[in-house]
Symmetry: C2
Amino acid sequence: MTDGAEDDTGGRKRLGVREIAKRVGVAPMTVSRALSNPEMVSPETRARILEAIEQAGFVPNRLASSMKGNGRMIGTVVPPLINSGIADQVQGMSDECHESGYSMLLVQGEFTQEAEERAIRNLLGWRPAGMILQSFVQSEAARALLANSSAPVVEISEIKGRKPIDMVVGISNFETAYAMTMHLAAKGYKRIGFVSTPIHGNDRLQQRRTGYHAALTELGIPNHDNMEVEVPITAQGGAEALVTLTSRHKDIDAIFFSSDTLAIGAVQECHRRGWAVPGRIAIAGYGDMDLAAQLFPPLTTVKVNRYEMGRRAVRQLLARLGGNAKVPTITSLGFEIVDRESA
Amino acid sequence: MTDGAEDDTGGRKRLGVREIAKRVGVAPMTVSRALSNPEMVSPETRARILEAIEQAGFVPNRLASSMKGNGRMIGTVVPPLINSGIADQVQGMSDECHESGYSMLLVQGEFTQEAEERAIRNLLGWRPAGMILQSFVQSEAARALLANSSAPVVEISEIKGRKPIDMVVGISNFETAYAMTMHLAAKGYKRIGFVSTPIHGNDRLQQRRTGYHAALTELGIPNHDNMEVEVPITAQGGAEALVTLTSRHKDIDAIFFSSDTLAIGAVQECHRRGWAVPGRIAIAGYGDMDLAAQLFPPLTTVKVNRYEMGRRAVRQLLARLGGNAKVPTITSLGFEIVDRESA
DNA sequence: AACGCTTATGGTTCCGGTACCATTTTTGTT
DNA sequence: AACAAAAATGGTACCGGAACCATAAGCGTT
């Protein structure tokens, strides 16, 4: 074929620092420096090198740099993005990464211990400079893999309880749920239900439920197990949970959902039935997603700044990589009970 | 420190195929083969090698393989995840990637030409086996970079119009918007407004608007520019657009939103004002997100299978990488007008 | 003019898996 | 038994930056 070549430069030579160096008439090392330590190269030489690079359309091979230990890649494991508000976090991580010249390797999913191990093994194969783990069930094997690798680890998770692998960024899910339950009680609700997505293996949810229980206990309200329901993380799940709980307990007056998505679904179901919110039943969510404030009626919810959480996780990792030994092990972000009209 | 070593294996030797080979008493090459071409190694040798690998906690360095051209990484560029339904697509891409042993490098953002070029350059530095681009403004520089790299490219985008770089997976945004507008007209609506997020530089939105225009023209309804509004992609944006359009045009009877998020925000605003939907005004969305079906009233919308779109994009890339020359250049996914009660 | 010190540049080797080719062992055929 | 063909394994070089050390040039000081 005729090789739609652009200009005369195009002998089909392998394009690398060596080739650029040859064209400019310097050593490969000088080209390398012009890219990663510009101040070590004289302005004139640098200009000529950059010009040649531009001209040749040369893109430095980051795999090669990485092999020399200068990797600028971060491996991340996150829960499914759909409906969970995780998208905000990923955006935060992504933004922070790219502002610092790092690339983000992403694995997402709901994992069994075995799948989790595979996912982490895959990521570690790329020898990332650091890892950020979010949906992490903590198999022993995975812990060992991470320990063997030299990569610092930030977990985005519950900040209480379980011993962290390395660093943790997150909130106290216990506190948030405790606070919301107390808040509902303070507003006069006495029979408060709790709805979440499947709790098994998810310590964030476990902590929230425990916070809910603790508040009830403190309030002198007995914990009835059948005031709790688990449903899939969909609006329909929320609607179904509402139906289940209200038909089980005629006198239930408030429901605390572990996710805004569920709460919003429940509010829609109330509209369908012509139930006033919070007249017939009060509804509270978790996450303060964009729609929460705009919902009719506006949703009372727990506000967590997920975007910031993502950014912080990356920043913490980079701080550690930057040699700052004084990086805190645990960073706790605040939360806020946003009292709107749904409860 | 005391080096909490586990077992005797742990002389602090660099861990690589060479080290494993030494321990097993074979050549490095044989270890490599045991991992990537198991059938080329006798079952007994293989077993001993795998055992040693397991025992040592060895994770093969994928950077090194990649440098020999066996890269299993895909670079992706997607629009912001928040509120846009893109999350489904990313999930689809991620799932398909991991099922095939590929890793996914993710960049997300709303790009200027310059930022886009930087993002693509960053990704190409990793020498990905392929690229999937979604928010792509098509600077000349970026095109050149991609052409220079040997990576096949799949664009997830409008399938009409602009010349594709390589392969395209997507829908005809024109068709979808045309169909929805016609659908609204068929239901008797005569004054149909159009609301989208900022259109500039987004050819998917441009195509939708053009489809809307085409339908109006065919219906003999004049296009009034002030029947169109652009707002940010938030529920609040949708609410504001509703207010703007209805106060501008007392007789407007339907609004077609370019995103479910906007439409849902508008429906909430209607509730707030006590307006019946579709009695006072009909509302249609785009995307069929989870909540659409559960909304009160259920949202009429354009259903696009974004998850599948993500999967297809990856599959198409892998098919090409698998040497299948007969991979189609353009894959068009279907869509569906979901007629519910909001319009 | 001679010395020390900074700055600019070059040469070589390595990171770790694997392509390529060479060599040995096993199996099958007449 | 003799030889072809297949299967299993080994040795070496390479991908492309960059660390490390060596060398050369520039410049101020006594």
